[in-house]
């Protein structure tokens, strides 16, 4: 029983990363119809950035948690203006290729400066050790990650459902043309929404730094699973992406334990789930079939 709870907890912590990344992807896809392949690279930049801030400038974790999302969000907005925007009228494949190319460039830039070795990033002192949650001890930092990620997801959810900005984003995501016809300059919101999605990826990266291997390819390894998460949740569905993020975290954690004798199965479990979901619900668990424009 204790083992099950421990795996469940670890699954939720991993799911928290999936949820944060999938949430950013979903917000971006909903508003721009762009599949941002570079999302994993921005996650990696978040972690690498935290490392550079600490070692070069002595900036601690807590500040990095603020600075990196802001910096990367700004970079995302600049990239949207400079590149993504120009390809928006073309087939979505162009922006997919653009962000794919961007991923390779960012990865190689980091690789050429810092190599491919994983870099250690110390857990912030306040979050060292473990907390006793009754049945057994959990590493404090992981508890923090889970609580923090849930708070961010709830916060974004609240913003989307309770603010004027959120209403406009939902309307523009569902029916961009109709929303323009109601006097809303949808184009004005595209850049900040893209930046916001990237900032979430950067935030996830900073959170990952103390507990995961920090290296130029850390995002590439993760992003494929995150894409599966987004598809399972339903492309563009905010709630779906978060729910599927935590869900897939759990499925993976349980799979590793209970399918330990079939490693092939446990490693591909996510994609098996994705295939099954798509056969059952082609638009994903919480997705809607594309509405006519």
């Amino acid at each position: 029983m204790t083992g099950f709870l421990q795996h469940t907890f670890d699954g939720l912590v991993n799911g928290a990363f999936y949820a944060l990344l999938a949430l950013g992807l979903a917000v971006i896809f909903g508003m721009l119809r762009v599949v941002n392949f570079a999302h994993g690279a921005f996650y990696m930049l978040g972690a690498m950035g935290a490392y550079v801030l600490l070692t070069e400038f002595g900036v601690p974790f807590w500040w990095a948690l603020v600075i990196m999302p802001v910096l990367l969000g700004a970079l995302g907005m600049a990239l949207e203006r400079a590149f993504v925007h120009r390809l928006a009228q073309l087939d979505p494949l162009y922006n997919f290729l653009l962000t794919f190319g961007l991923t390779l460039i960012l990865q190689d830039l980091v690789k050429s400066r810092y190599g491919v070795q994983s870099i250690p990033y110390a857990t912030p002192g306040e979050l060292g050790g473990s907390v006793d949650l009754g049945l057994f001890d959990f590493p404090t930092y992981r508890v923090f990650v889970l609580v923090f990620a849930v708070a961010i997801c709830v916060g974004v959810w609240w913003l989307l459902t309770h603010s004027r900005v959120g209403m406009v984003v939902r309307a523009a995501t569902e029916r961009p043309e109709l929303t323009r016809a109601f006097g809303i300059n949808v184009g004005r919101w595209v850049t900040p929404v893209f930046g916001f999605g990237i900032a979430l990826a950067g935030l996830a990266g900073v959170l990952a730094a103390p507990m995961r291997a920090v290296n130029p390819l850390m995002g590439a390894d993760l992003i494929i699973v995150v894409f599966a998460v987004v598809v399972i949740g339903g492309l563009g569905s905010i709630f779906g992406s978060v729910a599927a993020g935590f869900g897939i975290g759990l499925v993976q954690a349980w799979g590793v334990v209970y399918l330990a004798d079939w490693p092939i199965l446990s490693q591909t479990l996510v994609f098996i789930v994705m295939a099954a979901v798509l056969m059952w619900r082609p638009a994903g668990l919480f997705g809607r079939e594309e509405a006519p424009a």
Binding site: M167, V168, R170, A171, T173, E174, R175, E177, L178, T179, R180, A181, F182, G183, I184, N185, V186, R288, A291, P292
Partner: protein, 230 residues
């Protein structure tokens, strides 16, 4: 108020509008009748600025709209009631109503909307697509009234509605007209059209082929119905 000159529009190879011209004076209610596929909806979309492939000019109060994006046109006071009613599934009824900014001198308050449409009030926190077809139509009309649009572009607002609701739509349009709102109405129901409108244009194969007044439509009702295939 609204003036359309030599408007042509196509979907790829298919030309839908061919140099259509018409005019709607301030405070007038004018209908656009025509067979399915005659280009009525496309004409409204062109006025709204939602059809990229178009030539000719559309002007509002003498101002050329041709280069204005859709959202700027809406802010000049154009209110679109799309043929599919344009209900957002991810927005509540209240959000559907309050999404468009107020654009005119005399917008309805939310209270007034809910007083006029008690059914919308009771479902105010539900997703708008959960409403019945008739309620969604009321929502679409209420939304442009709350916007305070000076000119309504209504695409078959009575389609699929019960006679009682058709009457309610008529009452609303007449009340809007009393307050000086101008309406361009796509309509197949001739009886309804003559009840609310001042004049009528007949659109055929993308051209405006006839302009008629109410008495003419009434006297030629049989012929027109046969032509429209209803």
């Amino acid at each position: 108020m609204l003036r359309i000159d030599n408007l042509s529009a196509s979907y790829g190879e298919a030309q839908v509008l061919r140099e259509a011209s018409l005019e709607v004076a301030p405070g007038e209610v004018v209908t656009l009748v025509g067979r399915n596929g005659a280009g009525k909806s496309t004409l409204l979309r062109c006025v709204m600025g939602l059809h990229p492939d178009q030539r000719g000019t559309v002007s509002l109060d003498g101002r050329d709209l041709t280069r204005l994006p859709a959202y700027r046109r809406a802010r000049l006071g154009l209110g679109w009631v799309p043929d599919d009613r344009g209900a957002y599934a991810t927005l509540t009824v209240t959000e559907n109503l309050t999404l468009p900014p107020r654009v005119g001198p005399d917008p309805w308050s939310l209270e007034r909307v809910y007083e006029a449409f008690p059914a919308l009030y009771t479902r105010r926190d539900s997703p708008a697509t959960k409403l019945s077809g008739g309620e969604q139509q009321m929502l679409a009309l209420a939304r442009v009234l709350r916007m305070g649009a000076r000119m309504l572009l209504c695409d078959e607002p009575t389609e699929g509605l019960s006679p009682l609701l058709v009457q309610q739509v008529g009452d609303l349009l007449r009340e809007a007209k009393r307050h000086g709102v101008t309406v361009l109405l796509v309509e197949q129901n001739l009886h309804f059209a003559t009840g609310v409108a001042d004049r009528h244009y007949l659109l055929a194969e993308g051209r405006v082929v006839e302009a008629m007044d109410n008495s003419e439509v009434r006297s030629r009702e049989r012929e027109l119905l046969a032509y429209l295939g209803i």
